[in-house]
């Protein structure tokens, strides 16, 4: 199944706008995580705009697809995509991390329409997503659960607990996507905690493994379509991404994991992205 050319172009344009908007918001708020938000944008956009059955007018409808953002610090990216879907006004992005805001530093379902479950404490999102997937199977719902993981996040032992259990319970309605940007807070992942042979590791746990370019919407679309056809085992899409994607001086730099964007960097970033200052 192919993504229509016009749709691909529309989503690419949307992602570009999201990048500009995120730089704007994060500069304005002087808090929040730019690096991982920029790397996960195409993943979230492709999921919400080509795959997931969700209804902003009825966010709690039982027969819906669900997403767990394991790497909850990429909340700004999730919020921007949810706003575009119509869960809340885009203007509300300006309240990110403010007192009384519905947009908390890390996602919480009680605050933000469209957020399925809390995330931020790393490593526990995958098992929560599995729980949703198993509950949906019990209810006979033919819907899917997506879990977006960070590559630093998979340092957590609980991830591997979830991987084992998902295979045991044949959760083929669960699809994980690894935002494989190679950089975590303190440095590059291979220095902080070498996770040699990531594809082999997931495969050896019994998951169906697909690899793709995590900034190529068409490739993500095809990977997600393929994942839907895999029966009996869960699928993980290893999405090769770039931390800080789209802003030259942020790309691949751990320093931009959670740093506030200063005025000079903001101006440079907006110039590169063609945004309006």
């Amino acid at each position: 199944m192919k993504l229509p050319v016009e749709e691909k172009a529309r989503l690419e344009k949307l992602c570009h706008q999201f990048r500009i908007d995120l730089i704007e918001t994060l500069h304005q708020r002087q808090t929040g995580h730019p690096g991982g938000s920029l790397s996960v944008l195409e993943i979230l956009t492709t999921l919400y705009f080509t795959q997931m059955d969700v209804d902003p007018a009825n966010p709690k409808k039982p027969d819906r697809d669900r997403l767990v953002l394991g790497k909850g610090h990429a909340a700004p990216a999730l919020y921007r995509v949810l706003a575009e879907k119509g869960f809340f006004p885009v203007e509300e992005m300006a309240t990110l991390r403010c007192l009384d805001s519905r947009l908390q530093g890390h996602p919480n379902p009680l605050d933000t329409p469209g957020v399925e479950i809390t995330s931020g404490p790393l490593g526990i999102g995958l098992s929560a997503a599995l729980g949703m997937a198993l509950a949906m199977k019990l209810d006979g719902l033919d819907k899917r659960v997506y879990c977006v993981l960070g590559d630093g996040e998979i340092n957590e032992g609980t991830i591997w607990e979830g991987l084992m259990a998902a295979v045991k319970f044949k959760a083929d309605n669960l699809c994980a996507i690894l935002d494989w940007n190679g950089v975590q807070l303190d440095g590059v992942t291979e220095d902080i905690m070498p996770m040699h042979n990531i594809p082999e590791r997931f495969a050896s746990f019994g998951w169906h493994v697909i690899q793709c370019d995590g900034h190529d919407i068409e490739a993500l679309y095809e990977a997600l379509e393929t994942a839907k056809t895999v029966k009996g085992v869960p699928t993980i899409i290893l999405a090769h991404t770039v931390k800080g994607k789209g802003v030259s001086f942020m790309e691949g730099k751990n320093a931009w994991h959670g740093k506030a964007i200063d005025d000079a960097s903001y101006e440079q970033a907006m110039k590169e992205l063609g945004g309006v200052l």
Binding site: I117, S127, A128, G131, T158
Partner: protein, 311 residues
């Protein structure tokens, strides 16, 4: 002798779980010990043995609850409240997800396995989590009610059970109310506010003290959160001395909760704490451990006299 609390728990879970198709049960490879296996046998499609992976199990249960299920999470109390704490806090508490954390082998009841397996901090830990309710039943009848209530009330909860048999305090069919302690023996000189096995021990202590002319009131505070603060204040006012009694550290558990309520009441009655001192125990026969570490009827009686003397 009454039935072991864990057996009652397993049977009640199977009994009520069969009636409600949303009930799901998870265990971390100790279902034969926690007795969640009784449910597993009755409803195998809704029973999930997650292996020895307590954090993942709890997170998975929270995901199930987020999708409409009523999950009971089972392992030893010491593990569910430590390894399971992060998902309990992030999901159950913060997102108001109705996960039922069930701590088997509460207190010293896993006696021979020793301090690594004793749970003496669990009540203190779990009662600090916003939205969580905390229950410690004192006998078989109450254990059955606690299970039934957990299915009916969509709140995150910590339910602490024992490995052992406790003497019967209530008649079958007795019902209870969340946030309402129960006076199980009237008295006027002091009040023991206990939970779990210590309710039965306090009743024994009351009988002994009666022979010495001391009239002891005993309160079963099976619901530690929300706490029946009014009852604490009333007992302080009417009997003039309060003694907490729990199979738990004297720091932060039932005693801590009662002390908070007593201080807030402004009544100023003296209070004594019966429980594990700020230390770890050792392995040994359960009854001998309770005796050695000051958790039996004699220890309660001694603390009652000491506290009355400070009136």
């Amino acid at each position: 002798m009454a039935k072991a609390i864990r057996d009652v728990y397993g049977e009640s879970l199977a009994k009520y779980g069969q009636l409600n198709k949303d009930v799901v049960v998870l265990d971390a490879d100790v279902s034969g010990s926690t007795k969640s296996a009784v449910f597993g046998k009755a409803c195998p499609d809704r029973f999930f043995n997650m292996g020895i992976a307590e954090a993942g199990m709890t997170a998975c249960a929270c995901g199930m609850a987020a999708a409409g299920k009523i999950p009971f999470v089972n392992t030893f109390a010491v593990f569910v409240t430590t390894l399971g704490l992060l998902p309990a806090r992030a999901f159950g508490s913060y997102a108001d997800i109705p996960v039922k954390m069930c701590g088997a082998y509460g207190g010293l009841s896993d006696a021979y396995d020793g301090p690594t397996h004793h749970a003496l901090e669990d009540i203190a830990i779990m009662r600090t989590l916003p939205r969580f309710k905390v229950f410690v039943p004192c006998d078989a009848v109450q254990t059955d009610w606690v299970v039934k209530n957990a299915i009916e009330d969509p709140s995150p909860m910590y339910l602490r059970f024992s490995r052992d048999a406790f003497p019967d305090v209530y008649q079958p069919g007795e019902t209870f109310e969340e946030g309402k302690g129960r006076i199980v023996r009237e008295g006027k000189d002091a009040t023991v506010i206990g939970c779990g096995i210590m309710v039965g021990n306090a009743l024994k202590a009351a009988e002994e003290l009666e022979k010495e002319g001391i009239s002891l009131r005993v309160v079963d505070m099976f619901c530690i959160k929300p706490l029946d603060k009014e009852l604490v204040a009333r007992c302080a006012k009417e009997t003039g001395a309060i003694i907490s009694a729990e199979e738990h550290s004297i720091i932060g558990g039932l005693g801590g909760a009662v002390a908070e309520a007593l201080a807030e009441s402004g009544i100023g009655a003296p209070m004594g704490f019966v429980g594990m001192q700020d230390r770890h125990g050792e392995c040994g026969p359960y009854s001998k451990l309770l005796e050695k570490y000051g958790l039996d009827a004699a220890a309660i009686a001694g603390k009652v006299k000491e506290t009355i003397a400070r009136k």
